[in-house]
Symmetry: C2
Subunit: 402 residues, 2 copies
């Protein structure tokens, strides 16, 4: 059994299905929408009946990062962790929408489920205020994002602490849709760093986003939290897999100047102001794809592109960013195989643009104006076979995903 | 301490905040929308900029009813329980929207969180298919409801089994909004039964809907399930409060011909076809209010009406339906005070229309055409004091809610 197969079993044992293949099978019969190859599902504008427009209604959330926020909040890290969770829930959602060229107005509804025994109203207020703060920030960058309400349900028999999801509704012209199906051989892949301090950020970002937090938490944090906060994990998990690491929240992250807690809770960067400038600078016809490297990490792109061609795309990524300290620490603690690491975590960039080579400089210039590191991380080739493939070449080896 | 105060403590001990007052306080600073007195929050149509239209973006879910579905599914009651949960999640949502006069097209996004160790892809498929079945049913009644996608997240550290929420986006003309603020002295309250077999239903409805299920499950079901399914409740609950009743799922519900399991899992009735006919039969100016008696039960209406007047409304309900067997059984098992019962459960009707007396017959005729029992359950009076009040007069006593 490979190191990665062992890790799939660890995920499953913690209540996470690494591939979600069975979920995808369950929903396979659903209508794929107007642009089946686009990054998000896009549907008819049934609200107005306009044949020139379409709608994106998108759901996502902070995932198990809220369990970590709970743990940190109980350990005294303060109420601001909840504003971060609201940002996680919203950025995961909005950045998906931006990948099809939908830049608002965004209408946001939040769905919060809590155990009222554990999570008081002040936490809900912290989350709600966090959503509003994010809307205000986006407004400063000319992006209209509005809270429209939501639901806070007391569901202590279902939710151990608190779960924070959001749903975004937005509308755009059909001729403005970025359809990732158009990604084609000859294109280059420009990656936008998930770390550092973007022009609109107050604190450096660790790069983590809101993916892989179940693994990251349990692999990094130490068993002291297991006995202290049984409400922060599934009691059915094998005890040996619960907080099986060595770190406290307050330890310095190896190779970095921030703590493990701060790095894990680093709120998900939104790339929206960057995407807005990209759309201003690059003609729609040349923006072949925008990929949010969320669930699936650097392999996410494999699901998109090459529509209508007999042979698939090969996405060669041989110029990735150096691995940020947090992902290094997760791998070091977990001994997970690198192939798996690149398929769970973004490993350095959470957004990539796929464009003709002539547009690469414009992408880099936009990134520089946002103070986000960017580089050409790879290119698109003709695979010569049906189906897409991703090839990730790193100093740790070459990994293929189909 | 009153019987109802004791029960508030039982709710809290089970992770449910009966009043949600602290949650309402947490969100009190949010913009109340275009019609602050309407049943749902209504916002500007930022999607098109039309000043003549408005949007309703609404979130709700099946609550802890999914924990009961899990238990029943494990006990062999079959996959159809999951279609019922999808109906619960959707009906709770759509019926809220209908109360402001929004009758679609409805665009539905679902958010499902699961523990992948407990809940396989077949369950997700059952839920997703259940949503589609509900859309098809509504389509048969001329109501356009479409699934637009959603998110299934593996969050085993947060969710013990599965949580099923949905978010609905819809749009309507501002001059068609039913603004419950207009409910005024002189109006009558027509209740539409939550039980029986509506024209569009296959099985008689117990009336339960998706409210109060944490209490109902634990008060009715017996301790055999406590040891068998620890994943179906919060481990922090005092063991004496977990499945503290005497029934098995397969017991006949006292006074009825269905089982306790079937009655508790009875899918939430949607009143949409009835509301559609009401809007056809009654001029908008005379439909002063439609109230979905969901969380808050028969006291729900107290939050609405009398806007712009110095004195509040008194909603006198002295002609309620006989109490359905399931609510009788819950009270009998729990010994909860009747005042609390009426403030948690709908006790017989889950929808009420508030209209001038001249329109009551039209309401009753529409209900008859839907094969739903209806009756004038009460009236609106001038309270003579600021603030609204509900007075429920029953054979068990008179109860007041402010």
């Amino acid at each position: 059994m490979s190191s990665d197969q062992r890790h799939d079993e660890r995920y499953r044992a913690r209540g996470v299905s690494a591939s979600k293949a069975e979920v995808h099978a369950a929903i396979a019969t659903q209508d794929p929408g107007l642009f089946p190859g686009a990054f998000c599902k896009i549907v008819d504008d049934a609200l107005t009946g306009s044949a020139e427009h379409c709608l994106v209604i998108h759901a996502d959330g902070a995932g198990t990062k809220s369990s970590l926020a709970y743990l940190a909040w109980m350990e005294g890290l303060g109420d601001q962790v909840w504003a971060g969770i609201a940002q996680d829930s919203l950025a995961m959602n909005l950045d998906d929408c931006a990948c099809v060229g939908a830049l608002g107005p965004y209408l946001v509804s939040n769905t919060i489920g809590r155990n009222a025994k554990r999570v008081p109203g002040t936490v809900i207020a912290g989350i709600v205020n966090g959503y509003q703060r994010m809307c205000d920030l986006l407004s400063d960058h000319g992006i209209d994002c509005r809270m429209t309400g939501g639901e806070t349900a007391d569901v202590g028999d279902l939710v151990r602490t608190v779960i924070v999801d959001s749903t975004v509704t937005t509308r755009l012209r059909r001729d403005r849709v970025i359809d990732a199906a158009r990604m084609a051989p000859g294109d280059v892949i420009v990656g936008f760093s998930s770390t550092g301090l973007a022009a609109w950020e107050d604190l450096p970002n660790s790069g983590i986003g809101s993916n892989g937090l179940t693994g990251a938490r349990h692999e990094l944090l130490g068993a002291v939290y297991r006995d202290r906060y049984p409400e922060s994990y599934a009691p059915e998990i094998d005890r040996a897999l619960v907080y099986s690491g060595t770190h406290s929240l307050h330890d310095l992250l190896p190779g970095d100047v921030v703590t493990v807690g701060a790095a894990l809770l680093s709120p998900t960067r939104t790339y929206l102001p960057l995407v807005k400038r990209l759309l201003d600078e690059i003609p729609a016809a040349d923006l072949h794809g925008l990929i949010h490297c969320s669930g699936g990490g650097q392999s996410k792109i494999v699901k998109f592109g090459a529509l209508g061609r007999a042979t698939g795309n090969r996405y060669v990524k041989d110029g990735l960013f150096p691995i940020p300290p947090l992902f290094q620490a997760i791998q070091s603690a977990s001994q997970q195989g690198w192939a798996g690491m690149y398929a769970v975590y973004n490993m350095g960039h959470r957004l990539e643009a796929v464009v003709p080579p002539s547009r690469a400089d414009a992408c880099l210039a936009v990134a520089a104006s946002c103070r986000i590191d960017a580089r050409i991380v790879g290119r698109v080739e003709d695979r010569g076979l049906p189906g897409n493939e991703v090839v990730v070449r790193t100093s740790h080896g070459e990994f293929r995903y189909t």
